[in-house]
């Protein structure tokens, strides 16, 4: 796992990112105590149930070339039978304007509880994958990602 970045460092770099026009797609919401938002979003998704670690693998590069398109794969340990399967997977982020990335509905017909997509990352931050199991329990895995800022010596015109 990559090293932790302290929050002040992060919000500073987020501002730099905005100033540089890198990740200009977000641009509006001010920096704030995002980790709380993230925890709240996950709590709401889980309807207050416990969310435990283990059994979920969130595969995302720890250092990404460009935050506009970051490949992510979520893989959940599950036999994917009618009696015991993954019912849903959600991906959340800490420091984009909105906490949600995507929510997937699946079931035993999937055969394997694995989903890949590409997400946007406004800046370096924590990503969390949460799986809802058929018994109503929740599991999760969090990963910190460092986003390389676009070198602004190159403008786009």
């Amino acid at each position: 796992m990559n090293d932790r970045i302290d929050p002040a460092d992060r919000s500073r770099r987020r501002l730099l990112a905005l100033a540089a026009g890198a990740g200009a797609w977000l641009a509006v919401r001010p920096a704030r105590a995002a980790p709380d938002d993230l925890a709240a979003a996950i709590r709401m998704y889980a309807g207050g149930a416990d969310v435990r670690g283990g059994g979920v693998t969130l595969d995302v590069p720890e250092l990404v070339d460009n935050g506009n398109s970051v490949p992510v794969t979520v893989d959940v340990d599950s036999p994917m039978t009618a009696a015991d399967h993954v019912a849903a997977i959600a991906i959340f982020n800490e420091r984009n304007p909105e906490r949600d990335v995507a929510r997937y509905t699946l079931g035993p017909r999937a055969g394997r509880a694995r989903v890949s997509t590409r997400m946007r990352l406004a800046t370096s931050q924590t990503i969390v994958a949460v799986a809802r199991m058929s018994d109503g329990s929740y599991r999760s895995h969090a990963v910190d990602v460092v986003v390389v800022l676009a070198a602004c010596i190159e403008g786009d015109v």
């Binding site: 398109s69 909105e98 995507a102 999937a110 055969g111 997509t117």
Partner: protein
């Protein structure tokens, strides 16, 4: 010109878990971006994706602004019968596109 590319094995054995890969052209305009003229660019997203296997929904997704432009999505399903897989993307401004792919299960 909405386009999609869907990768599904043409044949599979009954009970096999097959991987499906989809790519669709869409800007996934977040609604947070400000254009050169200072105006906020209106949100324009694919909101929902559904995969139906011979009519039955086997996988669905809700997408948010943090899903990258030209959404790419990979998931699995069990090959149960020969027939069709139908993929539907729906979103803002009435966006709707469906692609169907035949699969032969032996």
């Amino acid at each position: 010109m909405a386009r999609a590319i869907v990768n599904v094995p043409a044949t599979a054995r009954r009970g096999d878990v097959i991987e499906i890969r989809t790519l669709i052209a869409h800007p996934m305009e977040t609604g947070y971006r400000v254009a050169a003229d200072g105006q906020r660019v209106a949100r324009d997203l694919v909101r929902r994706f559904t995969c139906r296997y011979n009519g039955e929904v086997v996988f669905a997704a809700e997408l948010f602004p943090a899903t990258a432009a030209n959404p790419y999505l990979v998931f699995c399903t069990v090959a149960v019968d020969s027939g069709t897989l139908a993929f539907t993307w729906e979103g803002d401004r009435g966006f709707a596109q469906t692609e169907t792919v035949a699969i032969r299960v032996t």
